[in-house]
Structure formats: C-alpha cells, structure tokens
Amino acid sequence: MMTAVPISWFLTLSAILFALGVAGFLFRRNIITVFMSIELMLNAVNLSFVTFSYQHKEVAGHLFTFFVMVVAAAEAAVGLAIILTVFKNRSTLNIDDVNSMKN
C-alpha cells in the first residue's frame, strides 16, 4: 500500500489535461468550446506550476498560477466580448463560418 503520491503522477495528469485541451482546441468548431479548451490548457499548466512549487518547496509556482488566473480572467472578459460582437455581426458561433474580413 503506497502512502504517498509520486510527483510524476501529478505531472502526467497535467500533461493529459493539456493534451485534451489541445485536442479540443483543434477539433471543435464552436467558438465558445474552443475558448474553453484554452482555459483547460491553462488549468493543466497551473497544475504543473503548483506541483513544481511542491517539489522545490518554493512559493513561486503558486504566484505564477495566481498570475495565470488573473490573465485568464482578463482574457475571458475580452474574449467573450469578441464572441458577443462576432455573434452580433454574423449570427453564427461556428469558427469555420467566420472566415472573411468583410461581411
């Protein structure tokens, strides 16, 4: 019976989540889902930051995670505003249909 978790398990989980995020980013066509896949990737990276923080017994990784969260919040605000504008002008959320600079 193991009593502790190897650090590599956390990193593996982080890699899996990141890969799933990339897959969603590449394959999904709904602009909101694509955006959510980016958030998934950011979360995966955050997990590795916190894990490295544990490994080195340093608080720096937590602060990076904190900054990533702040940036993600800013990104969500602007990104969702862009999505709203796109939907207002083209009435579609499919990124394949948003392919011309002019209407």
């Binding site: 978790v5 190897p6 899996i16 897959a23 979360n43 017994k57 608080v59 702040v70």
Partner: protein, 164 residues
C-alpha cells in the same frame, strides 16, 4: 489515503476533460470544465496550495466559468450542428498513443524520488502568498492590475451598443 484521493480526483478531472472535448452542447462542456476545475482545486489542497485552491474555485469556477455560462445562455447557443464526429476515428487512438508517450517521458524525466503527502508543504497559505506577492513580485502584480484595466476598457468598447 493520499493515493486514493489523488486517483479519485484525477479520474474525475480526466473524465470531465474528455467530456469538455466530446460534448456537442457548449453548456455541457462548460459544466464539465467546472468539474475539472473543482477536482483540480482538491488536488491543489493535496499539494498544500490552500490559497490557490480557494482562488481556483472563486476566480475560475465562480467567476470566469459563470461568465462563460452567462454568454452561452445569452446567445442561446445550440449544439454544434455540423457533424464533426469523424475525427474521433483516427483521433482517439492517436490521442491515446500520444498520451501514453507523454506519460512515459514524464515518468522518465521525473523519477519518483519526490513523493507528495498531504501536509508536506505548508507555505501555501494566504500569508506566505501575500508576502511574496507584495515584496518579490510587486512589479508583476502592478502590471497585472494595468492589464485588468486594459481588459475592462477593451471589453466595454467591444460589447457596447453602436451609437449612430
């Protein structure tokens, strides 16, 4: 105990993450993403990152994802209509192979000499984070506040009604 906790929440995270990618309706994806974030918050607690775990739930799950859900509800976005499921046939096995390779390399790069136990790292409380944030990382902190301001202005300009 720690191993069981890790396995349960890692499993929830992975299943929810797969759900984010394969669900056709954006609101199901959004809820699955909230599930991923919640289980990651538990894993942060396991790693001794109390403040980050709380911030994860408050900022990510409680604010950013609510904004997503709000926009999905506002636009009344339906399920993806174009059938795009064919990618799963070559994609799923390739993804599994890729993940296997990644896991293998991570295991090789980080030999299991560092073990994670609950309580093995206790400097993740709000006091320590605050001290580091306002001394060592003061400049990045101030820069992010400017970034937030820019984002607010940008979002308002983008989403405002056109005045003729």
């Amino acid at each position: 105990m720690d191993v069981i906790l890790f396995l349960i929440f890692a499993l929830i995270a992975v299943v929810c993450a797969i759900n984010v990618v394969v669900q056709t309706h954006p609101i199901s994806s959004a809820l699955s993403l909230v599930g991923v974030m919640g289980s990651l918050a538990i894993l942060y607690l396991l790693l001794g990152a109390e403040f980050i775990a709380a911030a994860q739930v408050i900022v990510y799950a409680g604010a950013i994802m609510v904004l997503f859900v709000f926009v999905i509800m506002l636009l009344n976005a339906g399920a993806e209509t174009k059938k795009g499921r064919s990618y799963l046939i070559p994609g799923a096995p390739l993804l599994v192979v890729f993940l296997g390779l990644t896991a293998y390399y991570v295991q090789r790069l980080f030999p299991a000499n560092t073990m994670v136990t609950f309580g093995g790292f206790t400097k993740g409380g709000p006091r320590e984070i605050g001290e580091a944030l306002f001394t060592t990382y003061l400049l990045p902190f101030e820069v992010t506040s400017v970034l937030i301001l820019v984002a607010i202005v940008g979002a308002i300009v983008l989403a405002r009604k056109e005045i003729e």
